[in-house]
Subunit: 450 residues, 2 copies
């Protein structure tokens, strides 16, 4: 069934058509096929590596095969970090191995490793409050527990320790730092993730840094409670190369009436190296690609505005692709009508948040009307749109967040367990339908949301 | 409250006292304290290693401190196997790492590893049915799925592939064998476990053998389905030493009226090396020790019969401690009135199975009466009593199985995830209470169960 584009004058209309379209889309399985293909045929795809390049070739091939226009790579460079050995053990008083994973950006201990007394602190702030002679020569253990929430609000607090602990420990002369994983489950699968990026030569490089799985953090805490002290040995041998290649992959459905007006949907193509990046962010790649494909098929003459898919590179290591996109498209950002990124797993969308101009809030909220049938409720007006939209948002591009249920997301996030089996095909299809309802309205309406 | 021993003449009586005693015991937390101590202060304790020796010292110290009599180690020797490197990756057509763990008893690939085409078979029987030239030079993948059951009946079938696959693959000239883990969850934590033991020089040594986690087995199956073929590289460098030391740890509550009559409760002290052996079998050690301790405290003058705790060594690597016990106590086996082992995790006991003489079935079933209040139902008459009771049972010793709920047991069994956090203290306390009800009756009754 081909749909005619709405008149740009009828902004905010078309909710009924959007809903009918989305309900048809909800029956499709393209997204699950895409995420299956990406995670099986490419697998892990760390930023700047040959594996990420393979993911880009996969994406270009798929986007072309699906019939999108202007499929291209937009290259940029970045330093490349790779994991090495990661060995940790309690050496005294109760010798036993600990499951750890190196944090992205960590320096190496060298192959001989480091060994020292453990100093447990509740938070990075507590560490910063200690005198240097209480910390120097020790292995700091930041034993802060993350809160499980539906909206992901537990993550900001928890990720702060991952970003800053190694630098705070270095300032006090520590040997190394261990953090309790930024995660919400109790399996022996520690969570990696990027530390704050060090950009200037001479900056604090941090100490070697790793995350303990939750059961291992529990164990180390118990050993400390029982024995009063513990010694740990740690070997982490990551390597950093100064320059590697990455790129954003871009594809379009050219607009028929206002091709210069861009509706952007995004996700990130890179993943951490431990899992196959199914929920982070293969799911997002699949959701936005499938939603756009269904719109294209439903409107053979094209939507009114241009729909642009951006599959960002190098998100995990510090939004490098996001910055490259904002710079490369600086002149065009004023024409970005609205943007949304899918990067919070594969759970069902349950809330629609807006981040638009003050006068455009009602028009933006109206977009949620055809989503109600999929269980989506209107949300707040503080949407950030997704990590890769940071620079666009800061440049004034309106954003929305199609917020997914994240209760289980941090059971998997940045672990070896982020694999295809964790995705529910029905939940994924609901995401595609809601994105389709969004795209149908914003690509055919006349509202500017500023 | 001190209890008087029942008259031996009043066999099968005392159910009401047993229930009252067990209900008091159900309020105690000693078992959880014991399993916390063992898993924290000792951790992993592979058979024949210094870690297992540390577990024996822990056990002797605890059993003495709790006030048991005749606390001793009964030593034996065994070959000792230790894990080395374990690396697996798909090298073509979709290069990516795979999570594997070496099976106990596997030979080494050497540090250079092996690489070959994957041959997927549904079962070991299917492998055995293939001509050698279809298998030779390949890496065999036995992709058989285990069934989740409450009573553990899925395990026998699934474990057969672990025990036999390496030898069947060797007979056909394969390079190595990968099995889908003997397990029921979908985390990237593969399950180790012992292969059939090779005892005679010149026997088929098997090929190098490892288990893939379920998500990795899914992935390899998907790659094969999509591409038609796959190559895998495998590096496994376990080592085997001909002779090491182990022992069973034994402790007693001497009987007051018939000290020569022995009621045996057991568990195994060794564990696999990946986790801390909390559910397999720290829980069992804690359950039987706590139940016996509560009986001892309730009956300061002693029960009628001797209660003997046996914490077996080297169960995991092939019931080596069980055999040593049966040999060392051969002369005494006729005096073993009845035996039970706790070695199926920390789930609640839900069924009482008997393995007794034909004429003793009713008397044995009557033991379940005071367990009903804890949710235990009468079961079948084919109880095996627990793995370490194999040789006793074969020698005519009556056994019972206090069957635990094993629905989740094979989510954890023989993985790195077998850690303390997986034990529910209330479920553990229920186990202790049911064992206490059992012990109270059989240690004070006069029935012989033969
Ligand atoms: Zn992400
Ligand atoms: Zn991420
Ligand atoms: Zn066991
Ligand atoms: Zn076991």
């Amino acid at each position: 069934l081909a749909l005619a584009p709405l008149s740009l004058a009828r902004a905010g209309e078309g909710a009924a058509e959007a809903q009918a379209f989305a309900q048809r889309v909800a029956q499709e399985s393209l997204a699950y096929e895409l995420v299956t293909s990406l995670t099986t045929e490419v697998g892990p795809r760390l930023a700047g590596t040959p594996e990420e390049a393979r993911a880009r070739r996969w994406a270009v091939d798929k986007l072309k095969a699906l019939g999108f226009s202007n499929v291209r790579q937009e290259p940029f460079e970045l330093p490349v970090w790779r994991r090495g050995l990661e060995i940790a053990e309690i050496t005294a008083p109760f010798p036993q191995p600990l499951a750890v994973t190196t944090l992205g950006g960590s320096v190496s201990t060298g192959p001989e490793g480091v060994e020292g007394e453990v100093l447990s602190v509740a938070t990075v702030a507590a560490l910063q409050g200690l005198p240097a002679d209480a910390v120097a020569g020790r292995i700091v253990f930041v034993d802060e527990v993350m809160t499980r929430t539906q909206d992901g609000s537990g993550y900001g607090v928890a990720a702060a320790k991952r970003r800053t602990a190694a630098y705070a420990a270095h300032e006090k002369g520590a040997l190394a730092v261990l953090i309790r994983s930024v995660g919400t489950h109790s399996h022996r699968l520690p969570h990696t993730g990027q530390m704050r990026r060090v950009t200037e030569p001479g900056d604090n490089p941090g100490v070697p840094a790793a995350a303990l799985s939750a059961p291992d953090a529990d164990q180390l805490a118990r050993v400390l409670a029982r024995a009063g002290s513990a010694r740990v040995r740690l070997v982490l041998t990551p390597q950093q190369r100064p320059a590697g290649k990455s790129a954003n992959v871009v594809a379009e459905i050219p607009g028929r009436l206002a091709p210069q007006e861009i509706v952007l949907v995004g996700a990130h193509l890179d993943s951490w190296d431990l899992g196959t990046g199914a929920v982070d962010d293969g799911a997002g790649v699949a959701i936005v690609t499938a939603a756009a494909k269904h719109l294209m098929d439903a409107m053979p003459r094209g939507p009114a505005r241009t729909v642009r898919i951006v599959l960002f590179g190098a998100e995990e290591v510090g939004l490098v692709g996001a910055k490259a996109y904002a710079e490369a498209h600086r002149e065009e950002l004023a024409n970005h009508v609205i943007a949304a990124e899918s990067d919070f797993g594969a759970g069902r969308i349950w809330r629609f948040d807006t981040g638009v101009g003050e006068g455009a809030r009602d028009a933006a909220l109206a977009l949620a009307q055809p989503m109600a049938v999929f269980g989506v409720v209107p949300g707040n007006d503080r949407a950030r749109g997704g990590p890769d939209l940071k620079y666009l948002r800061e440049s004034g591009v309106p954003v929305v967040t199609l917020l997914q249920n994240g209760l289980d997301y941090f059971d998997l996030h940045h672990t070896a367990d982020d694999t295809l089996d964790k995705i529910d095909p029905d939940d994924l299809a609901q995401n595609v339908a809601v994105y389709a309802a969004f795209l149908y309205q914003v690509a055919n309406g006349g509202e500017l949301y500023r």
